[in-house]
Symmetry: C2
Subunit: 355 residues, 2 copies
């Protein structure tokens, strides 16, 4: 080891899903939207004045925050924006979780939570899901330094009802409770209305899934201005200009196109419900996903082997080689055509296995 | 105070220069490039396929890193990219400065350094400049947990020679030494060649100034692959996809246009040298700036009053109300026309003051 390496921060980085460069791959592995973003995006790209780019962006991202606030019918001072919801959530861990008590989150959930906790040396304690992969609210009613719940949960897709979310928030008036709603637009109920009632609740959403803008990197948090201010203070202690000018302009334009958004999320939901039926018919079991993916297993089928066979043939889904979930595949919802190719492959594979 | 606020991180955020929304302001306050970016930027915007944006960006930003590596004649594994050099430097503080000994940087320098140190609880000790605002290399030859030097320094514009940089790097083989070269393209010598010889040296640059891309938010670090790997590990523990797809495409295209870059930096340098002469004739004194700004004072003129008078008339420069530098103004180099307006204003102001 070189002498200066003694001072390096030791971390175990998050492993994102593969981003194959081959465009022929059927990519059902990172929960991207199969449909392009609103046509408003093309208009912004074509009409943007490149000379604008010589100047720093608006540090308040006002255009974008205003568009989000208007969409949800709240004040802009209740909106924080960041470089994808990972930036928003990471900043929230750094800002809100500086106490000695452990932060609580499920043992099966978005696998970045423990990575952020380790990175920022936040103590944490994971809570088990029940046998149907449901969160058990009672587990979150003990002393803690904060709570993080993905809803619908990742990678299970299972929703916790708004009433149960409210019970958790209500019982934890000494902590900040973060509800990570990356997938909420595909049929779950948002906790947003509860932020008017509970000042300790922060709701985080993203443009990456339902708004087909993973490449533009926009996440946002909504909550009481005291939470938003605290996030802005820490953000401005790290980087005053996180949002690029193109991201601000693109995000604002796309957020205004409500009709396109509703139409394309409805298409994803319809495809998901159809794929659920077909997977059931093939003997798969899964929770009632309210997201743009299905987390499924099949008795007698080795998930890892199926994952690898599909991968070799250019169909990518996600497999987590981790305790409790290593029998499962997480399958993102693509276009109907992509899902037909996927289902056809699975049928053939099972026939060959004679199972 | 609300109960959960006890766990908030306490910070004193960096204050960036004002970004007035009035386009008629002559903006000489944030060291932006007065010329637009390379015409390659417009081509990228016009030809970008918006459907691309539904997918996550390349987490390795390969196109952009390759373009930077090719420009500087180094391997891509020696390049790290981030959301402006603030992201790169902030990430470097978090990655490299985890020892008990203080990190050293000048007492007059980029005012984000102490903000990052406070944010990440890094111990630090500032070292005085000499009376001509020069860094004293001997001050950096004592036990430390890391060294950060802006070169040319901010907000002075004064360059430290490459030989003196090498002396500091050589004498500190147990620490990571960061040289922040945000302004280096305006006539100073880069320490980049030294990174081939010293594995503990990290050179940080940005697209925000010389490449007229402040709105696109691209900074980069160059150094030994062991430093770059460590930065990537910490980055991937925070946000795997920091660079947007538009930023990757725009940055790569602009980096390839060497001719435009050389021409527009030469114009800024020529204007700067002319403005130096004119300010001298008006009785101002300043160090020999090698950046795109001049840090100047005038005996008998109250800098704060001049700053405020100009500001009221729509000419923005930067004033730091801080010990040691409160007699100075930092004036960014604009177009020749903008500088003529600025100089005309100053002449008139001094005439009115009868000084």
């Amino acid at each position: 080891m070189r002498a200066w390496e003694a001072n390096f921060r030791k971390v175990e980085p998050y492993t994102p899903g593969e981003q194959p460069k081959n465009p022929r791959v059927i990519k059902l592995n990172t929960n991207e939207n199969p449909y392009p973003p609103s046509p408003a995006a093309a208009e912004v790209l074509r009409s943007m004045d490149p000379a604008l780019l010589r100047k720093y962006p608006d540090p308040d991202s006002s255009l974008l925050r205003d568009a989000i606030a208007e969409y949800y019918g709240i004040c802009p001072d209740r909106v924080f924006v960041g470089v994808g919801s990972d930036d928003v959530l990471g900043m929230a861990f750094l800002t809100f979780f500086n106490g000695p008590k452990p932060v609580l989150f499920p043992n099966i959930t978005y696998s970045f939570y423990d990575v952020w906790a380790d990175l920022f040396r936040v103590p944490y304690e994971t809570q088990p899901l029940d046998k149907d992969f449901r969160i058990v609210p009672e587990d979150y009613m003990k002393p803690n330094g904060g709570i993080v719940i993905a809803n619908p949960n990742a990678p299970t897709g299972v929703e916790l009802s708004r009433d149960l979310i409210e019970e958790i928030v209500k019982a934890n008036q000494e902590s900040v409770v973060i509800v990570d709603e990356a997938y909420v637009d595909f049929g779950a109920r948002s906790a947003l209305p509860l932020t008017e009632k509970y000042e300790n609740l922060l709701v985080v959403q993203t443009f990456s899934k339902s708004r087909a803008f993973a490449g533009v990197r926009i996440g946002f948090a909504m909550g009481h201005p005291s939470l938003i201010n605290a996030l802005n203070c820490v953000k401005n202690s790290y980087n005053s200009y996180t949002m690029t000018t193109p991201s601000i302009l693109l995000g604002a334009a796309v957020m205004k196109d409500r009709a396109y958004f509703e139409e394309s999320t409805a298409k994803v939901i319809a495809t998901r419900e159809r794929v659920k039926k077909e997977l059931s018919a093939l003997g798969f079991t899964f929770g009632d996903s309210k997201s743009n993916f299905i987390f499924a297993k099949r008795e007698g089928t080795d998930a890892k082997k199926l994952f690898e066979a599909m991968r070799a043939d250019g169909i990518f889904v996600r497999y987590f080689n981790k305790p409790l979930i290593r029998d499962y595949l997480r399958i993102s919802i693509g276009t109907d055509e992509e899902m037909d190719t996927f289902l056809g492959y699975v049928k053939q594979y099972l026939a060959k296995q004679g199972s």
